[in-house]
């Protein structure tokens, strides 16, 4: 009798373990698979390439979404923040301003998107989903109007443009600048979200908005902060993006939205309460990036990659959610 009970708890805890670590297990399995399937996968050069080209920009957008999703909201307009920052920085540089002014202007543009979201959500009581959906539409129109229907703006070589492009090309102690930016932001957002009073307020609002309000948290102020931070982080990605490609391509930021949401929610499978975390989000971003890269190396074309990623995310989520449900 007692043995069978023990057996049962062992089974349940094994399921719980599998549910909790399904993403990590999948991650390890995928890394092993690609290492065997492709000789170039596990080389430092390739992993470095994945980090710089696939991870950094997506991870920064996903960090912002992690904060927003922790607060119980969503931001569909991150792509607009990316695009606006990219557009303003490239326009300023093309008009002959210095890199510093350009970067400041770009971040300012993202800040405006964030403030707009914050006003709509906290002052006008619009739900984050609808508010940011509206801003997404308006942002798309704005870009089309500003670029006569979506013409890209290219930076011709010049002092300011080269100086700006250097952001993407230079390295410090052998580490490329974008990676350093990412590391700094990861540490900052981790501390902010998991080690600070602000972070605790944000988590409380996400878990129990009513209780958070009754406990005296100034929900409106904190929520405004959350959306402004998210937009600013997306703005950083916008600047890195235009520094890398030396141009602004209208409506290109939206490509980050679905991947960033996916990465953040993949990360939530790490915690029992399904709370987003910085570590989990990074893991989600790495998973997506490695699968994309691995499928490319194994010789799948771009179109099949998308199917592969969809199937993989589906399976990971099914395993995590399904096993947890079975464990209950």
């Amino acid at each position: 009798m007692s043995v069978s009970a023990n057996d049962n708890t062992a089974k349940v805890s094994l399921r719980g373990f599998l549910a909790k670590y399904s993403v990590l297990i999948a991650f390890a399995a995928i890394v092993i698979f690609f290492s065997v399937a492709s000789p170039t996968f596990l080389t430092p050069a390739n992993l470095f390439n994945v980090l710089v080209n696939n991870v950094v920009m997506l991870a920064i957008v996903a960090l912002g979404l992690t904060i927003v999703i922790s607060s119980g909201g969503i931001d569909l307009s991150v792509g607009v923040s990316v695009d606006m920052a990219s557009m303003v920085v490239v326009m300023l540089l093309a008009a002959g301003y210095s890199g510093v002014v350009g970067v400041a202007g770009g971040l300012g543009a993202a800040l405006i998107v964030g403030i707009l979201n914050a006003i709509l959500i906290t002052r006008l009581n619009i739900s984050p989903f609808l508010a940011t959906l509206g801003v997404l539409f308006i942002g798309q129109s704005t870009q089309q109007l500003a670029t006569s229907g979506g013409q890209p703006i290219y930076l011709t070589s010049g002092y300011a443009a080269d100086q700006f492009n250097a952001i993407a090309r230079t390295a410090l102690f052998g580490i490329p600048t974008p990676v350093i930016v990412l590391i700094v932001l990861v540490v900052a957002v981790h501390v902010l979200l998991h080690r600070s009073v602000f972070g605790r307020y944000v988590q409380a609002m996400g878990a129990q908005p009513g209780v958070a309000w009754y406990s005296g948290i100034r929900v409106q102020r904190e929520l405004s902060m959350v959306h402004v931070l998210c937009a600013l982080l997306a703005g950083v990605t916008g600047i890195l993006l235009s520094a890398t490609v030396k141009s602004y391509v209208p409506l290109s930021g939206n490509a980050f939205l679905l991947d960033a949401i996916g990465a953040t929610f993949i990360g939530t499978t790490l915690s029992r309460e399904r709370k987003p975390s910085v570590i989990g989000t990074l893991l989600g971003v790495l998973l997506l990036a490695i699968v994309k890269n691995g499928l490319l190396l194994v010789g799948w074309n771009f179109y099949w990659q998308q199917v592969g990623i969809g199937v993989l995310v589906f399976l990971v989520l099914a395993a995590s959610f399904g096993l947890r449900r079975a464990a209950h």
Binding site: I126, S141, L145, F265, V307, L317
Partner: protein
Amino acid sequence: MSASVLHTEVGVSDEKQAVAKSAGRRFGALVVRLGAIAAFAAIMAYFVIFAPGFTSTFNLINVVEQSAILGVLAYGMTAVIIGGGSDVTEGGIDLSIAANMGLCAAVYATLLSMGYGDFLSVLAAIAVGMAVGALNALAVVGFGILPLLATLAVLNVAAGMELTLTQNTVVGASSPLLGVLVSGSFLGISALAWALIVFSAIMIVVVHGTSFGLRLYAVGGHPEAARAAGISVPFYVSFTYVLSGFCAAVASILTVSRLSASTPGSGELLLSVLAAALLGTVFSRRFVPTMGGTLLSVLFIGLLANGFQLLNVSSYWVNGVQGALILLVVAITSFARGSEGSR
């Protein structure tokens, strides 16, 4: 005895207050609803007066035809939102619907171009659409994945499969059925417009005129209560996702007929579909999604784009105005809700 009288009296006065309050609430909601509808009407009136040819029969039928695809998709989305609850992060939503339409259109056009007949091709498109819907249902109901997340993964699968199938090219298609849809007409109304009219009628009757529809609302509004009342919640939720897949397949046939081909980029419709389904709530008395409301907002979005075109306003404005309208309508709605003292 006296205590019980007192109790009743308190109860009565409470009830009176509640009645007064709910009357005020109803009045506030009515004002808001009429205000939003008046705003829509004002925009329409502006177009009628200033846009040349706006009210001509030819133009209005053209708008209905253009709205057919968006409308059919928006019905699928509306059904999912009704059955899954309208909470946007945890409730029902189908992000894969537009990508699913793209996949179905690719399947349909490819089969036609390979020489299979209309019957088989339509059947295959509908099977694919419903299979994608069933995959969503499996993820949401079977595995308990958040709809937002599950349909996001399925979106990637469907969009990727469309690309693999078509290699990101335009697949031309022609068939007797497409011929009828393009040039056929009955009572002076073209086939595409008929498609929207018939589909709308079916959806409105099923969702708002049958006990099936009533149970669907119960499942979305209060799943626990629905379960306690003996309704199979998993069945109804699954049904909405499969229905949404079916709508995607129907829309795919309409889009192939309009363009005489399957073209990449159908995923861009997603946002308009969401906007139509969510804007539609303003036409309902309790701000819930309804099929009639969705139809009105679909037509409104169509008329807006059309009016801009006739006024020679750049089409780049349409998205922005659509976004601003969503914000305006929802802000007014939430203002009315807030003033009811429910917060």
